[in-house]
């Protein structure tokens, strides 16, 4: 919707999802009105759907467990975990119960639990409130991972995650909340966004001439803005034309929609804003290497955060998080 911010689009999506099915429930800490959650994503829900919203004690593993029980009994359940760092407290219920239950009883047991959490730094919240924990959940059988972007309508993405029957985690970059929800169309003078494979497929950001791509950047929604700034810089300083692909679904990762562009680009760069090592970037790069062996002109470049905690002070945060300059340098060095 015109003029919407991302958190408003998310909030509208949650309203839709609770509205379409009275059996869809939402649990989380401090989610009741008038507060509506630490980042206000659940605003209005408890007023409009008092029987579907449950504000919980500070018990992350417990509330994901309760959600799993409700899901096992047939509900669709959304859980808000206040900060992605606290997902780790619910690891047992997410990995050992939710994901494993789907198949460990010898037949498929659908489990519609979707855990949402704000992630990432840039807000000065310090090391226990700034992590990007995505990599800790990659490759867990029957656990889907998706990340919010300014281009995907959260309503469609969450509806899909809730309907699949596998549990899922939805990562929401904190910086993105207050940014404009862009959807498809022109972003600025340089960039335009498209969703060629529909509302769940990857967003493709181009400078208008996709056929002349020098550099292809693949990144999740939280990094897209920084990738666009890097792309502008690459054009200005090095005359390299960049295309950016922003998948909504991080895992399982579907490489098919990106193979074409990746095969044609001079440099392919995968960016994630967490530390490398068993992470998303390496997994995506490996898929591309395997699918495009012999066709790529050079190894896929990966850019990750520095292997450190996210410090509290803003000037220190910027030494750890991925910034545009780091992407520019990595791409430029690969071309030489």
């Amino acid at each position: 919707m015109a003029g919407e911010r991302v958190v408003e689009a998310l909030n509208r999506g949650l309203h839709d999802l609770l509205g379409r099915d009275p059996g869809t429930l939402l649990l989380g800490e401090d989610v009741l009105d008038p507060y509506g959650g630490a980042f206000r994503a659940t605003k209005g829900l408890s007023t409009r759907f008092p029987d579907q919203v449950l504000s919980t004690p500070i018990s992350e593993n417990g509330i994901v467990g309760v959600a799993n029980g409700l899901a096992l009994a047939g509900h669709r359940v959304l859980v808000e975990v206040m900060f992605g760092d606290f997902l780790l407290l619910a690891f047992d219920q997410i990995v050992n119960f939710a994901a494993k239950s789907v198949s460990m009883y010898g037949r498929r047991v659908p489990l519609r639990t979707v855990v949402r959490c704000p992630v990432g730094g840039g807000r000065g919240y310090g090391p226990t409130h700034s992590q990007n924990p995505q990599k800790h959940l990659i490759g867990v059988p029957h656990l889907a991972l998706a990340e919010m972007s300014a281009f995907h309508d959260p309503r469609h993405v969450l509806a899909d995650l809730l309907d699949r029957g596998d549990p899922a985690v939805f990562f929401e970059d904190k910086i993105l909340y207050t940014q404009p929800a862009r959807g498809e169309g022109r972003i600025d003078q340089l960039w335009a966004a498209e969703l060629p494979a529909g509302p769940l497929g990857p967003a493709v950001l181009t400078m208008g001439r996709p056929e002349s791509t020098d550099c292809l950047i693949i990144c999740p929604g939280g990094v897209a803005d920084r990738a666009m700034r890097a792309g502008a810089e690459l054009l200005l300083r090095h005359e390299l034309e960049t295309q950016i692909i922003v998948p909504s679904r991080l895992w399982p990762f579907d490489a098919k929609p990106v193979l074409d562009a990746a095969g044609r680009a001079a440099v392919v760069c995968v960016v994630e804003d967490g530390p490398a090592g068993g992470g998303w970037g390496a997994a995506v790069a490996h898929e591309l290497h395997t699918a495009l062996w012999g066709q790529l002109s050079r190894p896929v470049v990966t850019v990750a955060a520095e292997p450190e905690v996210i410090p509290a002070a803003p000037h220190l945060e910027e030494t750890v998080r991925v910034g545009p300059a780091k992407i520019v340098t990595a791409v430029w060095e690969a071309t030489r």
Binding site: Y35, T56, P57, I58, G126, T128, A312, L316, E318, T319
Partner: protein
């Protein structure tokens, strides 16, 4: 441990009060980043306890920890520099408001995880520095975390000399205690056979006198103790996010120690108040003028 005088206590209370108020002002003025949780209204808790602690005791603090720190260390500049990311911060600006560490003191922002850690530190103290204790501050809301109960169980089983100080301010972020806690904290302690002391009011001298024997007993017996302070959060959870009614806020203000002490001894109070306000102002000016903190581990900035 030299016994503090009434004036010392008042100075300590007022230092924390003015420090926290200035923090909120600095936030409002856009001079501070990130988030902060002030202990306005709860200053008397660490001020009463700190003189009962010895140098070898270990304090574990939480998100609302500025008072815990300032009551133990006369270091407002180190704390403010940490919060503002300036030179001289306790942890070089890496940890920020809720992640502090120095000898005998650690805070972290993940609710509940400090209690098992506290049991571990307490077991070590028992071996290496018998008679020392761990003091772990948590809020009422933190009793929602399972780790709290695993820790209480182990503390009781293994006689870990740990004192859990509960700042029961009736609310967790926006959730009133009635909505997050079934039964009572005292009842939960009873389930583990752990002694529980309830403290009401904010008379620092009386509280200290009442708690001194119980804390000594932890030192000699190794048996853990839970001290539950009924207190009031005077300010917002962090900044500008108070969802309580005017009535509830009025009740918190009525219970505050500040007007009570001001009325009890107007002249000496006013003098102390001015002294600490000026002190905090000087600290703010000092820290504000400092260069950005340096992290010993550095990479080129990448913006």
């Amino acid at each position: 441990m030299t016994a503090p005088t009434l004036d010392d206590d008042l100075d300590s209370l007022l230092l924390i009060r003015h420090f926290e108020q200035r923090l909120l002002d600095l936030f409002a003025a856009g001079e501070l980043n990130g988030t902060t949780h002030t202990c306005l209204g709860q200053e008397h808790v660490p001020v009463a306890l700190s003189p009962l602690l010895a140098e070898d005791d270990f304090v574990l603090s939480n998100h609302r920890g500025h008072g815990h720190y300032l009551a133990r260390y006369d270091d407002p500049a180190g704390l403010l520099a940490e919060i503002m990311g300036r030179r001289g911060g306790v942890c070089d600006g890496v940890g920020g408001s809720q992640h502090l560490f120095r000898d005998g003191y650690l805070s972290t922002g993940v609710q509940g995880e400090s209690l098992p850690v506290g049991v571990g530190i307490a077991l070590s103290l028992r071996r290496r520095k018998p008679g020392s204790v761990v003091v772990a501050y948590i809020g009422d809301g933190t009793w929602g975390e399972g780790a709290v109960y695993e820790a209480l169980n182990m503390a009781a089983l293994w006689r870990a000399p740990m004192i859990v100080v509960v700042e029961h301010n009736g609310i967790a972020q926006t959730t009133p205690t009635e909505a997050h806690l079934a039964g009572t904290i005292g009842g939960r302690c009873a389930g583990f056979g752990i002694r529980h002391r309830l403290v009401e009011g904010n008379d620092v001298t009386a509280i200290r006198a009442a708690l001194a024997p119980a804390i000594s007993l932890v030192r000699t017996s190794g048996e853990p103790l839970v001290v539950e302070f009924r207190t009031h959060r005077l300010g917002p959870h962090s900044k500008g996010d108070d969802t309580r009614s005017e009535q509830e806020l009025e009740a918190a203000r009525r219970a505050d120690w500040y007007p009570r002490l001001a009325a009890a001894a107007p002249e000496s109070f006013a003098a102390a108040d001015g002294r600490q306000r000026d002190r905090v102002a000087a600290v703010v000016d000092d820290v504000r003028a400092r260069p950005a903190s340096e992290w010993r581990r550095q990479w080129p900035a990448n913006e």
